[in-house]
Symmetry: C2
Subunit: 770 residues, 2 copies
Amino acid sequence: MNSYIKHHEWLIIEEGFHPEYNRASESIFALGNGRMGQRANFEERYTGDSLQGSYIAGIYYPDKTRVGWWKIGYPEYFAKVLNAANWIGIDVEIDKEPLDLAECEVEDFNRILNMKEGYLERTFVARLTNGKVIRVRAKRFLSIADPDIGAIQYSVVPQNFNGEITFTPYIDADIRNEDANYNEKFWDEVCKETHKGEAYIVTKTKKLDFFICTGMMYAFHKNGEKININAVIIEKKKYTANKITVPVKKGEDLVINKYAVNVSSTNYEKSQLLKEAKSKLAGAFLKGFETLLKEHADAWSEKWKESDIEISGDVAAQQAIRFNIFQLNQTYTGEDERLNIGPKGFTGEKYGGSTYWDTEAFVLPFYLSTAGPKVAKNLLLYRYRHLKKAIENAEKLGFSDGAALFPMVTMNGEECHNEWEITFEEIHRNGAIAFAIFNYIRYTGDKKYLIDYGLEVLIGISRFWGQRVNYSQVKNQYVILGVTGPNEYENNVDNNWYTNTISTWTLTYTIESMDYVKRVDSEKFKQLIEKLAFNVTEELKKWKDIIDNMYYPVDGETGIFLQQEGYMDKEQQLAEDINPGERPINQNWSWDRILRSCFIKQADVMHGLHLLEDRYDEETIRKNFYFYEPRTVHESSLSPCIYSIVAAKLCDIQKSYELYLRASRLDLDDYNNEVSEGLHITSMAGTWLSIVKGFGGMQVRDNKIYFKPQIPEQWKNYSFMVHFRGSLLKVSVSNLEVNVFNLSDQSVALVLFNKEYKLRGNEEIRIKVN
Amino acid sequence: MNSYIKHHEWLIIEEGFHPEYNRASESIFALGNGRMGQRANFEERYTGDSLQGSYIAGIYYPDKTRVGWWKIGYPEYFAKVLNAANWIGIDVEIDKEPLDLAECEVEDFNRILNMKEGYLERTFVARLTNGKVIRVRAKRFLSIADPDIGAIQYSVVPQNFNGEITFTPYIDADIRNEDANYNEKFWDEVCKETHKGEAYIVTKTKKLDFFICTGMMYAFHKNGEKININAVIIEKKKYTANKITVPVKKGEDLVINKYAVNVSSTNYEKSQLLKEAKSKLAGAFLKGFETLLKEHADAWSEKWKESDIEISGDVAAQQAIRFNIFQLNQTYTGEDERLNIGPKGFTGEKYGGSTYWDTEAFVLPFYLSTAGPKVAKNLLLYRYRHLKKAIENAEKLGFSDGAALFPMVTMNGEECHNEWEITFEEIHRNGAIAFAIFNYIRYTGDKKYLIDYGLEVLIGISRFWGQRVNYSQVKNQYVILGVTGPNEYENNVDNNWYTNTISTWTLTYTIESMDYVKRVDSEKFKQLIEKLAFNVTEELKKWKDIIDNMYYPVDGETGIFLQQEGYMDKEQQLAEDINPGERPINQNWSWDRILRSCFIKQADVMHGLHLLEDRYDEETIRKNFYFYEPRTVHESSLSPCIYSIVAAKLCDIQKSYELYLRASRLDLDDYNNEVSEGLHITSMAGTWLSIVKGFGGMQVRDNKIYFKPQIPEQWKNYSFMVHFRGSLLKVSVSNLEVNVFNLSDQSVALVLFNKEYKLRGNEEIRIKVN
């Protein structure tokens, strides 16, 4: 844990220069607009520790799988998110000495992420080794009003000299991925153009033939007046630049506005990329920095209107939740159905920008409530379109007859992760994808989705479960052997309680869904049964037998649901007994030690009790919570949010608050000492859930939305908004009262503290508490 | 399985050219002399499928470990055996057309490995596309009389023309490893010299700075007369050659004798390598091919005198056992204590030429019986010298206080394998290393080894076991969680019966050994206790508690020792139920399916019953054998030999014979469809054990050697020889009698069919059977 970030309601602030945390700051202050992302690297040269990172949504590289011992079923490649052309670069020289914060004295350094308006600003005073002192202000954003465009305003004011300042705005496409194996590079240059005042470079990936055109234009102002200065053209391999030298006097404000465009062959014809780039860039240039920024900030304002959570009395919590909402909205807008949400978004290379079960298990509920059904449906359709590949994936592992195993990690539906204990064994992901269908329909009421798309996916998944179990002669029950549960600190275990539970849940829901579709659209049902060659008698019989005879491990003495068979054979210790110097254990303990320990990376049994909360009585949930939480080290970003929600349900509001704060400030306070690699985007949705579902007690059942709000004692009040069935509700909670305001014109069925209401448009309910 | 090899008592014969099996043949016909090895590649150019392979003992490359998710404890590198300079190459052109068997019509092709004299011979008639027909005979060997020297005799006789034949004898050091990741090369050229008639090249490895000087000389004979012909010198990067064109007439026998030397910086000063190479090569050249071959064949004759096994009535079995003995002796001579035996010897790149537990578990008994105590002691000392690194290795995994975990795979004592389920979990290897000490002392009586070296290793290993167990509160017993047993088709299992058993065996033997050393050399004992900071009270108390309270999984119903907990939950099937087209399963089934199946790769419970045979009654062994053998797919080369020995012990001689034949002809008949990658050298020792320990019933107990021979009905008789306590015994067995001849002058204590004898030197016992 490491807190150098200042608390503020709307801003993320680094005060003073912390080169030792620079990579962490580059992640935390990263910008994105759903189509591209940019770490908070410096525009000017920086020779200190840094991970320069520019990423473009959907652009990846299929790197060859290399393992010590090839196992049949491994995918041929794993996907790497590609670090793309650096378009932010502006090298600066002061009387021929390069500005490089690693080589200067730096004062008054501030890096600020303005979440309200969506821009990054950096200011500092630098004393170069030649004695020249300058004050610099650099401000930039990636437009959400026009997601192909980014803009930078970079100002230099000489403090103690008259002289010459040289600017070299450039595009550098000669980029290597940090995780490249042999420093190989993944981009080839297709063509480039360099003119005075503008430059373009078209690059393509060495595999899969993604093309990108990156362009730049720029303009200079001195003391607010536009100036024209002759530029020198510079071209190198995969690099294009202008070099401009400007005479300045002490106190003069010299500003360069740099406009950039990135257009990709995923959105435009390859042959038209250069033309598109020029046209878009010309438009942006014409508008100018301030106008572009205003359009961008206005768009952010619209987003905040429907998704903000306000917390008063606790700046750290307020800052954190906005940071989480901001980063989620920077990462995924729901507009492009081909895209999904990588665990690190656009903020680092790790996890390859690919899609994990995080989407269904954590992110979907956020978008369901904050963005309405279309975005959530797009996330579901993403998997529907991958069903065929999921069936092929299962076939590679030896399954047949339409059994579908969705990939653990994917870019295009193909599995692209290659550790057997994950790829082959972390099959609970299939359950999350089934549950997401249920969850979407429960929330939206869109049962037609089941008919059109959902049932087909459910049948594929249920067929997988039907084949994946085996009957144990010694137990006289079905077992699921050799799995990795959500807790990845156990591998290849037998009868993981959560996996066994979600598998029979899926089978049950699939059977119910078949009944429903058969009832409401028998023709469609018949077509589907034929298309899938579904053997109604045999397959259903098998599924029902599994549902009736599944084995669930339970501790005989305590009745605790066992995370897996044999869990109680481990040395039973508590996380608080671990030497703090050895936390996080995954950075201090050998894998061997972790695997053998009782310590839990993330909610596992608890994930089941969270998802299927209606099935279990409070005493059961309580017993399991207080057994497992003390054994959980929360070294997955996805962990504390779930425990926080469950703790709130158990009315342990202090515990819930602690876990919430840990979840929400995971990156800002770098709990797990890894934010340098990127932010934990998907878990940010879990943080949002901690408030709305945890403290707010939101549930959806029987086409009604339920709230049962509580408030941590650290807070004066808080409010959040949710979309539900066409209405937009704002829930405000204080120590004294709970207020639900229907901001829409649409009435809504609501249950507040167990009492049912029909809340009409633009009306509110106000209930006193305590 | 694939049998194109002709049966013969002393020869391995490929009759007719089988380009489709060429890589397999290159493995099977490989030559080695303990210091270098050479696959049976062709001397002349060959554009068909081939793995050109020249290997030099002890020369490896530490390749960087790359894994998807780095786990603490992983070694930084894994060792790669390096494919070294090609010194056999002689390109041949017939009237300017290159000889290339992939482009010719080939007739009368024979490849013969003469095991009695240790050479490879290849003969064929080739019709080139220009219509010219030649008869070729190529013969070569790697001298065991002077292990830096190799020699080739290559003869060409024109069959239908007068013309010109061009020879290009060369050394090509521009070699890439087939398993290189990005086709990178691991050798740099240091210098070279090319003269008419001789050439040298000094290369070094890109890491670890191993230097090799490879040299060649050659001479021509026509119809037996030496001829001198002018040569053209050719040099390229890392390549040196002479090119000689010789006019010939139809029927003339044109012969080139090529002599080669490989000297390594592991044996000579780097600065002296070139000089050494020249001097050695000059000596070899002076002797000439025939003399060198005679010295070599004589040395083989000496080896066979003491290690041959004769089988009559079964040519396939006879050929196989000689092939096994021959390959073992080609791989390891026991003369260099820095060397060990890699699973594939010098016959391929797989397994990196590194040392595995195979050495202790399979190979040591072979050398104990066939080469006397010095060679076996060298193998033990190899581990003793690695003790410090084994302690460091355990420390990396979180163990402390002198606990030692020997590496799964090593070149120099450091772990160099990087799959967690193997490296961190296949800890039974530690037991094999402890057992090897016991086995060596039991066989040789050299109890002083315990005092000087053995006890220190035993304490390190026992300390590991003492820390690796944990106490299960639910079982009230010690458990060993998270291991991979010898059966690598299970990973990360709890309470592998074999591992639990060998761990308490080790603790018991260590305690006994401590008592012994304390008794016979109390001063030395005291020193050791001090050196190791051994806490006699606490550590011994813990060890005894573990011995008394270890959990061993047993099936409640049948009393079968369970391979691991939960084994009976698997779907119980038999290997014979597997569709033959899906064998071997590791080439046809996903890893997921293999892991979940009940199928066993190699002896696991059975390995324990084999090692600790005196502990278990016959009924127990029988029950387990007939449970596990039908579930075993024998897809490790190390499997059938152990089952064969146990079957013999159970007097199931037919089963034992079947398993023996499978073990001994594993490579010749390519049972597991992988001999192309190299031979299974270490398992060959297991094959030898199948005869001596299995059919011969050899045991050593109480300083006496036991035999209880049986004979498969397929055999008329068989004989084998063993060294024991200074004597050399030849045991001959037929249907009618068993004869033990003491070939030495030293008398020996012998138990034959449960009856004790003292057999004096040069005496024999003859016992009628049946």
